[in-house]
Amino acid sequence: MSARRVAVPSLLGEGGVQRGPNTGIPRRRFLFAVPPLTGHVNPTVAVGGELARRGHKVAWVGHKAALEPLLRHGAQIFAAEDAAFGARMEAAREQWLGLRGPAALRFLWEEFIVPLGHAMMPGVQAAVRRFHPDVVIADQQVLAAPVAARLRGIPWATSATTSAEFTRPLAGMPKVEEWVRERIGEFQLDHGIDDLLDLRFSDHLVLVFSTAALVGDTSVFPGHFAFVGPALGRPPGNDFPWEWLDGRPAVLVSMGTLNGAAAGRFFQVAADAVRDMDVQAVLVAPPGAVPDPPSNVLVRDRVPQLKLLERMSAVVSHGGHNTVCEALARGLPLVVAAIRDDQPVIARQVAAAGAGIPIRFGRVREAELRDALAAVLTDDAYRAAARRVRDSFTEAGGAAQAADRLEKLT
């Protein structure tokens, strides 16, 4: 046998990735706690990837089946799930799709965030015991993570994958804001913490994947609030028939991973709105959402979104934070039809930045959508504003800046 030594890549997940040039810092262990929601997981994939490149050990805790397709192959995942909660969520899905405004807010806290926190608690505590993280990074919707970290005295950071909370959307409804804080307080009391914190905002580090260009004045926040801009760089997704794009201005219409068929009317209106425009439109929609689409409309149930945006001229979105920031990171103007939750807040941010136009969702009219789309495509002011936001994102540093800030916690 040859005595030649062969370097075999580590099978132990991302920690096996070679250390980058940034070797002044000792190897640390970072645990990301995430809900089973694509938009909340994606930014952690980019930040986790950056930390792994720097030689740190990275793991995730959450719903394993939901996480696996979103993380890089071989990423270390600790399961924190509860069959009863999962079944309840599945059953409530149809109901959730119909909720708007205050009813959606009540559902979010009473039926999702608080029960998810309880359901994840044992799994997160087990992950903390087994992985020995130096830092826990808690998604704003995973209440179990800050509680588990605080119970063991581990530094924890907030991962805010939407910037809506930083504009205090409930400031005009003090009783509702108080109601939310009570839910957060009760959760801590249930798990033996009576020194109550607002678990949405870590007192160590709050990573916000946006910038002042969208959020507005960020100088009012304490120094441990880091507005790092979007953390892009998740693995490339699905196939796309690139030859279909013929060089005309192209528009991506994406209404979020969860809304799918519930956005049926919107997709049909969008297809009709662009029928006689000199553009091409890619609709991310379930097969059959638009029967008999015009020839300038392509319906795909999945797209490689980041790569596709390189070929787009504008984006129509429901105001999901990731899609909005991914579009703006490319300097693309937006038309935003908010459905629920933080989306109206994000739509207002886009409008205030001058980078797009908000329209209705449920009762949107063909002309409303066509006029808004024509405006963002032809009026350079929207593109210029989108590029200003893009520049602020670049300056903020994204995943690298998030990793810098996380390293400083250890």
Binding site: R100, G101, P102, A103, G172, A338, P358, R360
Partner: protein, 93 residues
Amino acid sequence: MTSADDGVLAEVVRMLVEVVGEDFLLDVQVGPDTTFNGDLALESIEFVALAEKLRARYGDRGDFAGLVAGMDLDQIMNMTVGDLTQHVEAAHA
């Protein structure tokens, strides 16, 4: 109801029809008991449009934000057209 009440109610209904669109209200008879969230499924952007019309017509009396500011989550979820017209009328008095 006094004629003044009818006036505010009729105004608010007219504004709602403008914001929402008459063709979307074919099955709904908008009255004092109509709920903004349940019956009309008013979207955030439509609330904003309605608030602008109220302010343009009634000035400070049409302060939608002032109405919502004192409400809890249940009250906001179940807020009716009648709640709004009473708010405008009370401010008028």
